[in-house]
Subunit: 451 residues, 2 copies
């Protein structure tokens, strides 16, 4: 669960040796700390023009206390220059009004001068219009070109930086604040090279210090690792949390729940009576449903037993489907609910030795896609979060070479922490995140696993 | 343009040394040879049941002369067993009728016994139903799970094998033969881990020995490398080809064209008069339009000049858009035409030092997506082919370490050849390939570049 290489690489001696050998030099990533309130701890540069930039401008004073624009007088902000401006912690560029190929040069013109003036772990965000909503083919094509640009820039940006592209539907700009608070802060530090779509959403956050206040959450597989981090993060953000894990863990689970005023339930999610027990434990309904429980039984298909296949499919895919269906049918999952399925980069790209696991995780992504339209009619969103290499007991148990390869094969040259996945889940659980549904958000440091 | 390591690794001494050192051991890939007629040079095993399997069965005798099923009496074929059957060159499994999670075990049951009985460069194909067309969420989810399975199996299969997943629309089964001839033969040898959708298509191939007979094709950037291979392959399949490249190459281009009875045109596709000249050179119209011309001007964004940005965008993206628009407007691109845009894995995953190139290639993918619906009304398809690392003069000019990393970072542990891209283009150019539109087909050996 600890990355000794990362620590060594950032010691005085280690830095020298690693530089001399040309080895990967991972940067210590900043994380969100309890008690912090402002999303951007430094200067924010806003560029481009359009409805999205206007929406950013409207809430920018809540994001950072040092706001700049790249042109004189634009957005009524002081002009930033590489010569006289401070180092930049966050950049937002509205590319939504670019409709002709020759206008794409604006990307270079905006980002190039900033690249030598970035603070550590800078967060870069490109806002755009969903290509599929644009009538003119050239305009659609220009918005698509942003994907190649942002994913390339994500591979070039140094110092633990991340670059994302958000396609924002017309009319959805008024829900941007929550996405900005997430993607411009260390909460998204292990996310890079991602593309998401934001649609209109009727529900909003009242209190940004407790965006999940008044919400009841359920987290499966909550006894340790990613599940424990999710439960704790949802509680931090104001939710009442019910922690669920297998009966064996009951004592640990109860102690963990007690730490942040949650409840616990020891339950085998594959048991025949699981749905009934779960309904009984949630008499007042549930708003946030996080299916995190999962197992691995890694083997090449040539050597995989029937039991290894069946266990993984039953726990990782069949149980979340069955429990969600039961909660929906009983009306326990409330209107405007949020369902988050913990998938995996393996489910997207496939992975050697994980035919069973990758099938189950691809199936979860399919579940988000299949259910999103129907659930949307009740204001419920359903998404998958796909972790890459995360430092947990599961990855600590990997053979050394597999573990090291997994850790370094991403743009950050290190594994993520359970907290990184938890922050993504907490964001998707917010009232304003109904803007995102049927999608996959990777928390993988821009993994090289391929697809 | 030659991979010396591949040759060394397959010499007697090299095989020993590379085995001892644990280095990647690439397998020499089989390619389609002129004069060959049967797609599968060995035994074909058909498994699963449903409309797709029935369609395979109906044309299977044209694919292979050694047909088997995995169960007694199924598909009216002899039963194959690991003990008594021959080595398998091609496998097709119809997973389209799997609707419940517990049925997914059928994948393991079908593929597991075959994995130790595969011939070299085996081609594995899973046929399925498009999840988005299924009403029951569980059924949709099961079909999605196939993606994770097939991409994992693609990483496990040895000996230069490839695994693809084809989602076949109801009613599209009668156009499967062309896809089978491609995906079960060496024509697709450098394609693996891919997922495509096949829809209904009204046009069919008359003569499989010359599927493009009577068609007029245009290939840009045809003087060398991938473009030359595309031109030659389209001609092999019966098309009349107009080879286009910059005026400098006119003599070489004319000589190349003469080799297979094509015509040539020296033209700068970015020139103001290019559309008019092109229309003049195609007085009788064009059926197959291949936008292959492209340039790189690699630099990190921090050091990229305005000219480097603009050149790449102008040649790679603006010119194909402008020429296609002109051919459409003038009615020169005929009904049931085929447009193929040569994109790049960089356009999907982004690439270090290629912000300009990746933007242009992502834009081409956007072009295919944006234009597909409107063109579909005239029976025209438009798709992108995304090569990974292909052995050309362009990649030969890369610095050694970048070249070697690029070559090995895929499931095949080697670069592809121009012919591999050309075969994919030729398939998409066929009359029956109207079944595929608005999609991207990667020819990348299941690249690890990420996305």
């Amino acid at each position: 669960m600890t990355d000794r290489y990362l620590a060594f690489a950032n010691s005085t001696a280690g830095r020298r040796l690693i530089g001399a050998l040309g080895l990967p030099a991972p940067v210590p990533l900043e994380r969100w700390m309890a008690g912090r309130t402002r999303p951007v701890d430094g200067a924010l540069l806003l560029g481009g023009a359009g409805a999205r930039a206007d929406a950013v401008r409207a809430c920018a004073h809540k994001l950072s206390n040092a706001l700049f624009a790249d042109r004189e007088g634009q957005h009524d902000l002081p002009r930033w220059t590489a010569e006289h401006g401070p180092r930049l912690k966050a950049l937002v560029f509205d590319a939504g009004e670019l409709t002709r190929f020759e206008q794409l040069i604006a990307l270079r013109d905006f980002f190039q001068p900033t690249l030598k003036a970035l603070a550590t772990c800078p967060r870069l965000l490109i806002l755009a219009r969903p290509p599929e909503t644009l009538e003119a083919p050239q305009a659609a094509c220009v918005q698509c070109a942003l994907e190649g640009f942002s994913r390339s820039l994500a591979k070039e940006v140094r110092g633990g930086g991340g670059v994302q592209l958000l396609y924002v539907d017309a009319g959805a700009e008024d829900r941007l604040e929550g996405a900005l608070r997430f993607f411009l802060s260390p909460k998204s530090v292990y996310i890079s090279g991602q593309v998401l779509r934001l649609a209109r959403c009727d529900t909003a956050v009242d209190d940004w210090s407790r965006p999940l206040a008044g919400k009841q959450a359920l987290v499966t597989g909550a006894a340790r690792g990613i599940g424990a981090a999710i439960a704790e993060t949802l509680a931090r953000d104001g939710a009442q949390v019910l922690l669920l894990d297998v009966p064996d863990t009951a004592d640990d689970l109860a102690a963990l729940a007690a730490r942040f005023g949650g409840r616990s339930l020891g339950l085998d999610i594959c048991a025949a009576e699981a749905p009934q027990q779960l309904l009984g434990a949630l008499p007042d309904g549930v708003d946030i449903l996080v299916h995190n429980a999962g197992v691995t039984r890694d083997k090449t298909l040539a050597k995989m037993s029937e039991a290894q296949w069946n266990q993984v499919l039953a726990v990782n895919l069949e149980a979340p489907h069955r429990l969600t269906a039961a909660l929906l049918e009983a009306g326990t999952l409330r209107d405007n609910g949020r369902v988050v399925l913990i998938a995996s980069v393996s489910g997207i790209a496939g992975n050697f030795g994980q035919c069973n696991y990758a099938a189950s995780k691809a199936g979860l992504i399919g579940l988000a896609q299949a259910w999103a339209p129907a659930l949307g009619q009740r204001g419920i969103s359903i998404n998958a979060v796909a972790p890459g290499f995360i430092e947990t007991q599961m990855t600590a148990a990997m053979p050394l070479t597999v573990r090291e390869a997994g850790r370094r094969m991403n743009a950050m040259r290190q594994g993520g922490l359970p907290q990184d996945v938890a922050e993504a889940v907490a964001w998707l659980a917010q009232p304003d995140s109904g803007a995102v549904s049927g999608q996959v958000l990777r928390v993988c440091g821009q993994s090289l696993l391929g697809a």
